[in-house]
């Protein structure tokens, strides 16, 4: 260990090479390929007003959930309860409009995010203080939150007519042809991506995910970070619940059912390793867009949409096998470099 080569900051050329090899670029190219292939088959997929809007809009709700999920997975945990949090928040938002028709829309957003964050804090507190695996805790809260939702909602349904137009317009409004909800998702992505890449706090998530024991020995506040990751995931899911209500206008007790697998799938496809410590939120968002774009592309390409889930499965498996192969090649290269030095 005495002859560790001194690494200097990479130059522009090395950075470009790194960018070309990065997972995010690969996923982005795959996404572009799917869109191009589908558009060649049916130009409306991209070039009609509806096609363009749906392409950007539909995945943005799952993308927001995937951002939070990525932070949790990077810290070597997993949050299975996100779908139930989305559902519970969506119903809360609907009920707020029923009870207080005059409630200002920004306040609803704040309430949704805070409520989701509180549910996330329940998960985080149980995981961080109870020292029990996140999978079990969030599996439990997946049931519990959904159960509370069904108990509260019953077979009721809140319809678009119960909500103010100003709120529902958010789901359809566009700015320079880009849907407002997508812009919102991008803003969150930029903020979280910057935080994770450049701040001390963000890097601590990676340190804890790479090696929790080493991170603790080093003096990082593991408990607080894990708690924060779950609060972030809950808040993101809460926001997604608000967005869902604005986008679709109807809320029943099954909103967000199955989001957990889509969000985890998106993160894994986007290069966030399930064992923690690596990946980016940008990758997770690209993963979400790839997953949902393929879903809407399949029928256009003539594949019955019954096969969508099989394709999703193959994608997830392909992504993790690819990750593994790349990681092995990387470690072999590092070994060779070290023995050469």
């Amino acid at each position: 260990m005495t002859t560790v080569p001194v690494t200097s900051t990479p130059g522009i050329g090395a950075r470009l090479a790194g960018l070309a090899r990065s997972r995010e670029t690969g996923i982005f190219l795959a996404l572009a390929l799917v869109i191009v292939a589908t558009t060649l088959k049916n130009p409306d997929f991209l070039f009609s007003a509806d096609g363009w809007r749906n392409l950007l809009l539909n995945p943005s709700i799952v993308a927001v959930v995937a951002i939070g999920q990525a932070v949790v997975i990077i810290s070597r945990n997993v949050d299975l309860s996100v779908g139930s949090i989305v559902g519970l928040t969506a119903y809360l938002v609907g009920s707020l409009f029923l009870a207080f028709p005059q409630i200002p829309v920004p306040l609803v957003f704040v309430i949704g995010v805070v409520f989701g964050g509180l549910l996330g804090a329940v998960n985080g507190a149980l995981v961080a203080f109870g020292r029990v695996p996140a999978m079990v805790i969030t599996l439990g809260t997946l049931y519990a939150f959904r159960g509370i939702n069904v108990w509260w909602t019953g077979s009721k349904r809140i319809n678009a007519s119960d909500m103010p137009d100003g709120f529902l317009d958010l789901g359809t409004q566009q700015f320079l042809t880009i849907p407002v909800l997508t812009i919102l998702a991008v803003v969150i992505l930029v903020v979280v991506a910057w935080y994770m890449a450049n701040t001390r706090g963000g890097r601590e998530f990676y340190a804890i995910g790479s090696d929790p024991d080493a991170a603790e020995l080093y003096g990082l506040a593991k408990t607080r970070r894990v708690l924060m990751a779950f609060v972030a995931s809950g808040a993101a899911s809460g926001l997604a619940g608000v967005l869902y209500t604005a986008r679709y206008g109807t809320v029943n007790s099954q909103v967000g059912d199955g989001f957990e697998l889509q969000a985890i799938g998106a993160a894994v496809i986007g290069g966030v390793a399930i064992v923690g410590g690596s990946g980016t939120v940008l990758g997770a968002v690209f993963g979400a867009y790839l997953l949902l774009t393929i879903n809407s592309a399949l029928p256009v390409l003539g594949i019955p949409d019954f096969w969508q889930r099989a394709v999703v499965g193959v994608l997830i498996l392909g992504a993790i096998v690819l990750d593994r192969v790349l990681a092995q090649r990387q470690s072999r290269r590092l070994h060779e470099e070290r023995s050469a030095a």
Partner: protein, 348 residues
């Protein structure tokens, strides 16, 4: 670590003194706590819930939880090695579709059963090979195959369902033993339970499963075939899911692509409730069976008093969280209590 390697009579005697006596080890275990809870719930339900303690209710209760019981038997050893199999629910759906397609093309049911078991074994082997040969985490692999197997099941049948099956077989699956109300399939379950108990608790292979869960490296150095064992367990998990899929098709008279959606979460909840550690390395089948029964009894009793299924899922979730938290608190308390006593042993 204590210095017990010398093996002198002195150290052995002191080790026995510090260990708890066998009756306490058996009586004060996670498994016994769940069994006690199960007994309390059964007694309470029999006293308070009308029509609960009848053969008819008992029969329907067992019919309902049979798929859970089958899969939990295989899920427990998988989780004891520290792996997990999230694809079981999808495999149940896929194999029920296989049985349905065979029945629709007029193949005899025994052929359908064999085919479904083969599909289950192949699916389990695919999971196992990706985990052991490629070296991927079981959680990620089985999230992928959860989507894949479900996708194939839905892709094969679309929105249609097969509802025509050989009468003789559906009658057999729905049959009860005399007037006891106990389904005939329970006999198959008891045989399988005996086989799994033997495998897990009374063979070197079974000890290897626990060893793998405690430390893969240590197990490997002690001569346990780590990857072969894990592969075998994934195949068993696929086979038991196939069995549950066959049962699903024949008992509900319906083969659909979306059969048993979300069953994996119920199975894992029951297994964890039954005392299997999610970190791997500990668990026992009597606890697992009690865990499944507890969930089944609770849902049935609440259903009879017209409490809807959502409350059952709140209770399931809360039980799951409480059971792991309780385990964590107990081991924390034990570590505080044992540490001062164990200290002299360390210095000896």
């Amino acid at each position: 670590m204590t210095t017990l390697t010398s093996g002198s009579p002195d150290t052995e005697r002191s080790y026995a003194e510090y260990g708890r006596p066998a009756w306490r080890r058996i009586l004060f275990s996670r498994e016994m706590a769940i069994i006690a809870l199960l007994v309390v719930v059964v007694i309470a339900a029999s006293l308070r819930v009308p029509k609960f303690a009848t053969p008819v209710t008992l029969g329907y209760l067992l019919f309902d939880i049979t798929p859970l019981l089958f899969i939990a038997l295989a899920m427990a050893p998988v989780m004891i090695t520290g792996d997990i199999d999230l694809s079981v629910g999808s495999m149940v759906g896929l194999t029920s579709v296989v049985v349905g397609l065979c029945s629709a093309s007029a193949l005899p049911i025994p052929v359908a059963i064999v085919l479904a078991l083969v599909v289950g074994a192949i699916g389990g082997a695919a999971n196992g090979l990706l985990v052991t040969r490629v070296g991927l985490p079981a959680l990620a692999v089985t999230i992928g195959t959860l989507a894949l197997y479900r996708g194939i099941a839905v892709g094969l049948l679309g929105t249609t369902a097969v509802t025509q099956f050989d009468k003789w077989w559906t009658t057999l699956v729905k049959a009860r033993i005399g007037s006891t109300g106990i389904p005939v399939v329970v006999i198959l379950f008891v045989v399988l339970l005996a086989a799994f108990v033997l495998m897990l608790h009374f063979t070197p292979f079974g000890r290897g499963i626990f060893a793998i869960g405690l430390s893969k490296d240590a197990a490997s150095f002690s001569g346990v075939h780590v990857n072969r064992t894990r592969l075998v367990l994934f195949i068993l998990s696929g086979l038991m899911s196939a069995l549950a899929g066959i049962y699903y098709a024949l008992y509900y008279n319906s083969a659909r692509g979306d059969n048993a959606t979300g069953l994996e979460l119920q199975v894992i909840a029951a297994v964890v409730l039954g005392g299997v550690s999610v970190w791997g390395g500990r668990g026992a089948l009597h606890g697992v069976v009690a865990g499944v029964l507890l969930i089944g009894v609770l849902s049935k009793a609440l259903q009879l008093v017209n409490v809807t299924s959502d409350v059952v899922s709140i209770i399931t979730g809360a039980l799951l969280v409480l059971s792991v938290i309780a385990g964590s608190v107990v081991s924390w308390a034990q570590s505080r209590r044992v540490r001062p006593a164990a200290a002299p042993a360390k210095t000896s």
